[in-house]
Amino acid sequence: MKAMAGCALFGAVKMLSGIKDAFVLQHSVVGCNYGTLILQNVHKNYDVRQASTVIYENEVVYGGHELLAKGIREVDKAFCDDAIKVIFIVSGCVPNMIGDDVEGVMAEVACSKKLVHVKAPGYNGDFDSGAETALLSLFSFAKNCSKTEAPSINILGVSADDPYAEQDVAELQNIMGSKVLVNCSLHDTSIEALEKLNAAHLNIVLGNGVKLAQKLEKSFGVPYIQCKYPYGIHGMIDFLHILEEAMQVDFTAECQRLYENGQSLVRKTAYYLSTLYQLPVALVGDKLHLEGMKCFLRDEIGMNIAVCLDVKAGDERNLEQELKSKNAALLLGTGFQRELARKMQLPFVGYCYPLQDQLCLATGLIGGIGTAHLLEMIINSVLQQDYKTDGIYHQLLDGRGDNA
């Protein structure tokens, strides 16, 4: 198979990357640290908070206990102030195979930071299971606390490695105004905010995080709702309606404004939108984004979702076959599908992790302005696509050559 998603370790590290006063120490081989860094976090190289113990042949023979203890001490020494409060130890394949007692080391080593172990061997579980395990480990921080005065939500499942997370959450807050506040969103949070997870009135689970939400509900009575990522005008309006129902707030004005945004957008893009209508589109994405994007393309743009593939279960070799057999005319996916699109001369839009070949700074993809940005990307990808550059009838010549 040609892998389209990472393993449990990738899922765990990704979910923890947004806690800005926590450090992720990977007890694994070098490649895991490099891979998790280069696939997204490196775009934020002004704030790298991860390292590896670098398991090597010595540890395979004698065990990685001493190495792990040294790693923990090094992090403790490097952050002797309060900049880092917690060290998450994410253990990978090799320590699990050689039977390293990670928690035993954690109990014995002298360290001023709180230590949390997230077990994530790559061969035992997948990206989502690693993400869930990491998210569940955050429960230990939640304290009993009073609710925020204004209605508030936590957003679970979004991570710092998601290329548009920062802009999208900011836009969501902008739309909700002071009616509902974001108490904690995991793409950009702190230990203090995690301690106050229960101050929120509602947990919104986008993608991963359902186990954490269930535990928070059971232990602290914070209800949760699983939602689609609110792409599109109606996607966001639906999302606001869910909040209205759950939190007794009134978003009529906001929904009206979004609707007007939509009207203005359609006025400017109507011609282009009509060319997308009913065309077969292929969609690839992760648990966090896939369903929301599918609804937007199908319900709001009117496209025919010919292929819809969760990267976790995906094999890019099969995807190529499917794209051919389903005659997809457009592909939306991760940075890993760009090359396939190029090979097949398909217009391509990269919208979710990993977007290793794309910097995302200005505008997110949700709300009025985000939807405009998303439409821009889709339409421009088509307008700028190289197509039949060898000549309109070039394929006929190729065919003749084959038969000759």
């Binding site: 198979m1 449990a8 895991c32 190289n45 002004y46 395979v60 394949c93 790559g122 035992n124």
Partner: protein, 499 residues
């Protein structure tokens, strides 16, 4: 040589050098770097899915992803081995894609369980058309750090006047593992063609393809045929590599294996950037001529080339000597080469040399004081031997730099925007822009001369200059203490482990 700038832009835009401050990739990236140079070859990574995912994107793959399949090892395989999954995948790829070769690449998981990938592959070889090549791990996970330190020590101890002789074999480097596999499993005995060479197409710096193409043309004029570039082409061109009389190599280990197995002699270039200018180009081809007993025909072409470019070269050198330069270097280990390139070969009038380096360089690389002293002494020796009267300053203060600016017309330096604040025109330093033919060298010489005559004065509106960056670790700022600490931990946990 336009490829040089395109290489610079496209490769440097990838944040590899930044990631390398905090991490290093596993040796699989080197395995893939070598195998993906070959045509019609597929790769199976015998690993869990995470490795199969992240190794699709490595910096060596330039602007594409590696075409890698993965067996997706699970608990079952960790206990019982990868046999069933690997065999099934080999057969599937062979039937569906008909490759000429399938490379089986191990992972840390197969290395820990000691999976017999060679045995498994042999058992299925008769059932598939593709040649199966199994990469054998020479180290666990990746090569250790000691080679880099050994190389630095070598550089410090060797004389400026001689080219570096390296004893470093890079055992466990993923690239070397593949080259060894090609020697052991693919190459076949051949009748030797006397006037022929193989050239290793690896690590020739930016613009490498053009360099090798022009090298090939010059060799041809000398009566020397390039038998094959390694690793390049398909598996058939690797098979016939032993036809060559001589290997021109960048990594030594596989060349030693090839000498042992087929008797092929080799000429090792430890550091291409120390080969610079007319003299070194001549030395390079004379060395090849010596190995092949073709000294006369080599010399004839060299003299023709020198004659063709000599007067223009001298003219440009004179022109370049009219303006004074201050060289600012980020390290001390290559001052001799920098002076050779700019002072001796380009004819630049060097007014001063400033080394602005990481003050923890020695500590982070496990070098003791004597090695650092030797580097400084080498820099002084280089000045003396080249009649360069410029003063050498190590980490000069801001005030000192400002004084030095009064004595120069332009700077030769790297891309840290802090130098733009010195308010002098800048000539970008392209130390690794070595050329191995006269035409390319003269193109570079023309460019350098044009830039010296009209150097680029950066505007004071440069956006980058609204920030105070770290002197060494651009684009970090002083306040980015998390990133700094992550680097320190990486240094402590790995870079200094086998100092």
């Amino acid at each position: 040589m336009n490829e040089f700038y395109k290489d610079c832009l496209i490769l440097d835009m990838k944040p590899n050098s930044i990631v390398h401050r905090y991490a290093v990739n596993g040796k699989i990236s080197g395995n893939l770097g070598a195998i993906t140079c070959l045509d019609n070859a597929l790769i199976i990574l015998v690993s869990p899915i995470g490795c199969g995912f992240h190794y699709r994107y490595t910096v060596r793959a330039r602007n594409k992803l590696n075409d890698v399949d993965c067996v997706n090892l699970k608990n079952q395989e960790v206990v019982f081995g990868s046999h069933d999954k690997l065999v099934a995948l080999i057969k599937k790829l062979d039937a569906e894609y008909a490759p000429k070769a399938i490379f089986v690449v191990p992972s840390v998981v197969t290395d820990v369980i000691n999976d017999d990938l060679t045995g498994i592959s042999n058992s299925v070889q008769t059932e598939v058309k593709a040649k199966i090549v199994v990469i054998v791990s020479q180290a666990f996970s990746h090569m250790d750090k000691s080679n880099f330190t050994k190389n630095l020590k070598n550089t410090a101890m060797q004389k400026n006047s001689t080219k570096q002789v390296s004893n470093v074999l890079y055992k466990g480097c993923g690239y070397v593992e593949v080259m060894d596999a090609l020697v052991e499993q693919v190459m076949e005995p051949q009748k030797i063609e006397p006037n022929s060479v193989n050239i290793e197409s690896f690590l020739w710096g930016y613009g490498g393809a053009t360099k090798l193409e022009r090298m090939q043309n010059l060799l041809l004029r000398m009566g020397i045929k390039v038998n094959t570039f390694l690793p390049l082409g398909d598996i058939d061109s690797i098979k016939i590599a032993p036809k060559a009389k001589l290997n021109i190599v960048r990594r030594k280990k596989w060349a030693v294996s090839m000498k042992t197995r087929f008797g092929t002699d080799f000429f090792h270039l430890a550091m291409p950037f120390e080969w610079h200018g007319f003299d070194d180009i001549c030395e390079f081809y004379r060395e090849i001529g010596k190995h092949l007993d073709l000294e006369t025909s080599v010399e004839k072409i060299l003299q023709e080339e020198i004659e063709k470019y000599k007067s223009r070269y001298e003219e440009l050198k004179t022109q370049n000597s009219k303006r004074r330069a201050c060289i600012i270097s980020g390290g001390v280990s290559n001052i001799a080469e920098t002076l050779k390139a700019y002072h001796k070969n380009f004819g630049v009038r060097v007014a001063s040399i400033c080394v602005i380096m990481n003050t923890r360089f020695a500590e982070e690389n496990g070098l003791d004081d004597s090695i650092m002293k030797r580097f400084f002494a080498k820099a002084e020796e280089a000045k003396l031997s080249m009649n360069c009267d410029a003063e050498l300053y190590i980490n000069p203060s801001k005030e000192k730099l400002e004084v030095l600016m009064q004595d120069c017309d332009y700077l030769i330096c790297g891309r840290n925007p802090r130098y733009a604040k010195l308010n002098k025109p800048i000539l970008p330093m392209y130390i690794d822009r070595a050329a191995f033919d006269f035409e390319s060298f003269m193109e570079i010489m023309e460019e350098v001369s044009a830039k010296i005559a009209e150097p680029l004065q950066l505007s004071n509106k440069l956006l980058l200059n609204c920030m105070e960056f770290d002197d060494i670790f651009f684009p970090r700022e002083e306040k980015d203490c998390n990133s700094k600490a992550s680097r320190d931990i990486y240094t402590e946990m790995w870079r200094l482990r086998k100092k």
